[in-house]
């Protein structure tokens, strides 16, 4: 039997800091709004306050999400990417909303390609994290499958006229035989993640 004393203090401190900030950022109702957005078209709003307008300038700011999903379709890792699209028009000559929508729709494929490129480092880290997560699971499942295949015929002491224990053992052996390939299949599929197409979530227009 081997055991290791774990030390994840550095990671946990960083994570606690991130979570504290994240909690401070959100207010009641925020997560529900994001849930609405999840099933809707991208949302666009216009910058109204002075400092936001000053910061945005003539640019259109877009928030995209790039995500990995597992074999069941659940998002396992995701990353937000902010893109600022410079616009030649400004002041009174700003593009109308419909024009903006057309422009964004036109450049979307190019942006998706760009996002995929600029998130390469994140994708590699996400892949590595998924691989490490799956590797431990795979090793365990292989061990379980091997153990089930070698399951000894113990724990049962058949009585002279009582065949229940014998039948129960046969049943368990049958279960083990069924479970072993299941564990191996699970082991092989547990680490597979695929990259989703980048998804446009929010647009802030000048």
């Amino acid at each position: 039997m081997t055991m290791v004393m774990a030390d994840f203090r550095a990671e946990a401190d960083a994570e606690a800091t991130r979570l504290t900030r994240a909690r401070a950022l959100t207010r009641a109702g925020d997560d529900e709004a994001a849930a609405w957005l999840d099933g809707a078209a991208a949302w666009m709003a216009t910058a109204r306050s002075c400092h936001v307008r000053r910061a945005v300038g003539p640019r259109v700011v877009m928030l995209w999400r790039v995500a990995f999903e597992n074999i069941d379709g659940a998002i396992v890792e995701s990353q937000l990417v902010a893109i600022a699209l410079a616009s030649a028009a400004s002041g009174r000559h700003r593009a109308g909303r419909d024009t903006l929508k057309h422009i964004i729709a036109g450049v979307a494929p190019a942006i998706e390609t760009r996002i995929t490129a600029v998130t390469a480092d994140w994708q590699w880290r996400a892949h590595e994290a998924a691989r490490a997560f799956a590797a431990a699971q795979t090793a365990r499942r292989r061990a379980i499958a091997a153990q089930l295949a070698q399951a000894p015929a113990r724990q049962f002491q058949p009585g002279l006229f009582d065949r229940r224990a014998e039948r129960a053992h046969a049943h368990l052996a049958e279960q083990n035989a069924d479970a072993a390939p299941e564990h191996l299949t699970g082991a092989l599929s547990s680490g597979a993640i695929t990259l989703r197409r980048p998804q446009l979530l929010l647009v802030l227009a000048p």
């Binding site: 109702g29 994001a34 999840d38």
Partner: protein, 622 residues
């Protein structure tokens, strides 16, 4: 588009899909496929179901998949800002936690470590051995939530002492919004009529919480084992470390689970074999495989800079003349037994004799009952009358009750060949014990202590009969704060819950409890004072007792009082307990075990043999 089952058996709908059900739009959060149906968890994304979570069964409900609308929609700035804040807050790096932000937990960095370790692939079998009260349930809940968010733990089994099932279900629901079912005989009987014939009810539970004593039953275990559990959590895992049918059952279940979490604040009682047995729970080692090592988290209050101060007081109680005489007669009976056994078998009967000494340390009343039963058996003409029959669990279909705090059987070794002499010795012992029970010095000390403290207290004792005796004594003495409440292994789940509730509501001041009934309870918001009527021989039990009130959230200094009978073997027990604690500390730091498995015997020799222990200074390390 109506959704159907795919030919390969995999569900055609997937997490993340948008669907219309009953004229509302939902996002699919989770899909669990069973033989003939699927359980689909949905999150509402349009009025009037926005933000709601619902689970439904297909094909009984029809789901229509819809594509995410393309294009861009103008929304109000308020709405946009809300979504923006939520998205930015939820943004995180690889192998970080996705459920902790919304969980109803106070963020403490050390509590995040086990979940981070699992996500980083550091291990699949974890031992969370933090000090009592540092939030192991929260840490386990985080691991469950994270694994389920990644679809890596479809089925979770939580094995816990019977009294903690509801507490687990409540914590998972309130803190992590996860529904967990507390399973016992009653719950399964309710569930079975709703299922098709032949369906194993355990397979229909995403998160099941069951007591170890229920799961190990011969008629229950096969159906639990037939279910493929992804994660098995063993709470108070030290209770299944020793060789027993409990351990066999838990190990058999855990050894087939992808993830195993062992939770205990007291992993090591000074016996290395028991510790190794604990650490090997759930191993799936087979030839030619390389299983990841057990990952151990062991943090003390000092490590995390948390918790109230703790003061330990050893109260030396002077025995009455009747009590001293009782101990003397017990010693005399022991000498006679030992002399005869040594002559016949060549070895002493210290372990068997220690059972009687334990009873005497607990109360004269409990010793009187044990000796009385033995005398009745000697008087009976039936030679099998003293062989008490094991009780069948017929009156305990739900596995709520435990006999761990019941009076022990009379050891078979304790008998003399000369029945008349044995009768004579035991009669004298019985009458002295009965006389001593009329005014017990420890109970008198307890009454004084409770009166002076003037605040809520939990009083622990090992035996149920002693507990009942204390209750009667305190009732006669008009104990402050009304008659005491009781928690023992003979009470059903509802009765225990009602007692804890009453104590927590400040309705009564004194709670009398046995170890078997009080394990894992959170009493720190109500109380800070623990009194041990006698010393358990296992330091883990002592730590577990004090841990009921010394937990995160305790604002005041915790006081623990050990009542120790002066002039008996109890001061020696205290010193030996201290040595065991030191051994455990050394072993967890990978030092060699200086005690070994002969400790129980040496402790028995110390008590039953009346040997002197130089280290019995009456202090216990805080």
């Amino acid at each position: 588009m109506q959704i159907s089952q795919r030919s390969d058996g995999r569900s055609a709908i997937r997490a993340g899909d948008l669907v219309v059900v009953r004229r509302s739009r939902w996002r699919v959060v989770d899909v669990r496929a069973y033989d003939a149906c699927q359980v689909v968890t949905l999150s509402g994304i349009s009025a009037p179901v926005a933000g709601l979570r619902r689970r439904l069964l297909t094909p009984f409900d029809t789901l229509h998949r819809v594509d995410r609308p393309r294009g861009i929609r103008l929304v109000s700035r308020t709405r946009w800002r809300r979504a923006f804040r939520s998205l930015v807050a939820a943004d995180r790096g690889p192998a970080t936690l996705c459920t902790a932000r919304t969980a109803a937990i106070e963020l403490m960095a050390y509590q995040l470590e086990p979940a981070l370790a699992v996500l980083a692939g550091a291990g699949v079998r974890l031992l969370l051995a933090d000090d009592v009260g540092l939030g192991k349930t929260i840490q386990a809940g985080l691991v469950v939530a994270e694994l389920r968010a990644r679809a890596a733990a479809d089925r979770v089994l939580i094995i816990t002492p019977a009294g903690l099932r509801d507490q687990w279900a409540r914590e998972l629901s309130e803190r992590f919004a996860m529904h967990a079912a507390a399973v016992d005989g009653r719950a399964l009987r309710r569930r079975l009529p709703m299922l098709p014939v032949g369906v194993n009810p355990w397979t229909t539970l995403a998160i099941a919480i069951a007591s170890v004593d229920y799961v190990k039953r011969a008629e229950v275990f096969p159906s639990v084992a037939a279910c493929a559990w992804d994660l098995v959590i063993v709470d108070e895992a030290h209770a299944v470390a020793a060789d027993s049918d409990r351990r066999d059952a838990v190990h058999a279940l855990a050894a087939r689970a992808s993830y195993v979490l062992l939770l205990t604040a007291t992993p090591h009682n000074g016996d290395r074999r028991a510790f190794e047995s604990l650490c090997s729970l759930g191993t799936a080692e087979a030839a030619g495989t390389n299983e990841p090592p057990l990952v151990v988290f062991r943090r003390t209050r000092a490590d995390v800079g948390s918790g109230a101060a703790r003061r330990i007081h050893a109260v030396l109680v002077t025995l009455t003349a009747a009590e001293r005489r009782m101990h003397l007669l017990l010693q005399r009976y022991g000498d006679a037994i030992r002399a005869e056994r040594r002559a016949v078998t060549g070895h002493d009967s210290f372990l068997a004799l220690s059972v009687l000494h334990k009873r005497a340390f607990s109360s004269a009343w409990s010793l009187a009952r044990s000796v009385g039963r033995r005398l009745a058996a000697l008087d009976s003409s039936d030679p099998a009358a003293d062989a008490e029959q094991l009780a069948l669990p017929l009156g305990d279909l739900d596995g709520d009750l435990t006999t761990a705090d019941a009076a022990p059987l009379w050891p078979a070794e304790l008998r003399l060949s000369d029945a008349r002499r044995e009768h004579h010795l035991l009669s004298a012992l019985a009458s002295s014990a009965a006389a001593a029970a009329r005014r017990e010095s420890k109970i008198a000390a307890l009454q004084r202590l409770l009166r002076r403290a003037g605040e809520s207290a939990v009083v622990f004792t090992e035996y149920r009969d002693t507990l009942l005796h204390i209750r009667d004594c305190l009732a006669i003495g008009a104990s402050p704060g009304g008659p005491p409440l009781m928690l023992h292994g003979g009470m059903a789940r509802d009765e225990r819950a009602s007692v804890v509730d009453e104590f927590s509501r400040h309705a009564r001041r004194i709670l009398l409890a046995t170890d078997a009934a009080a394990e894992g309870l959170n009493l720190h918001r109500r109380c800070r004072l623990v009194v041990n009527l006698e010393l358990p021989w296992n330091p883990m039990r002592l730590e577990q007792r004090i841990g009921r009130v010394d937990r995160i959230g305790q604002q005041r200094t915790v006081h623990a009082f050990h009542l120790i009978a002066r002039g008996t073997g109890e001061p020696g027990i205290l010193a030996r307990l201290r040595a065991r604690v030191a051994a455990a500390q050394a072993d967890l730091g990978a030092a060699p075990d200086p005690i070994g498995s002969g400790l129980e015997r040496s402790l028995a020799r110390l008590i039953a043999g009346g040997e002197h222990d130089d280290d019995g200074d009456g202090r216990f390390p805080g």
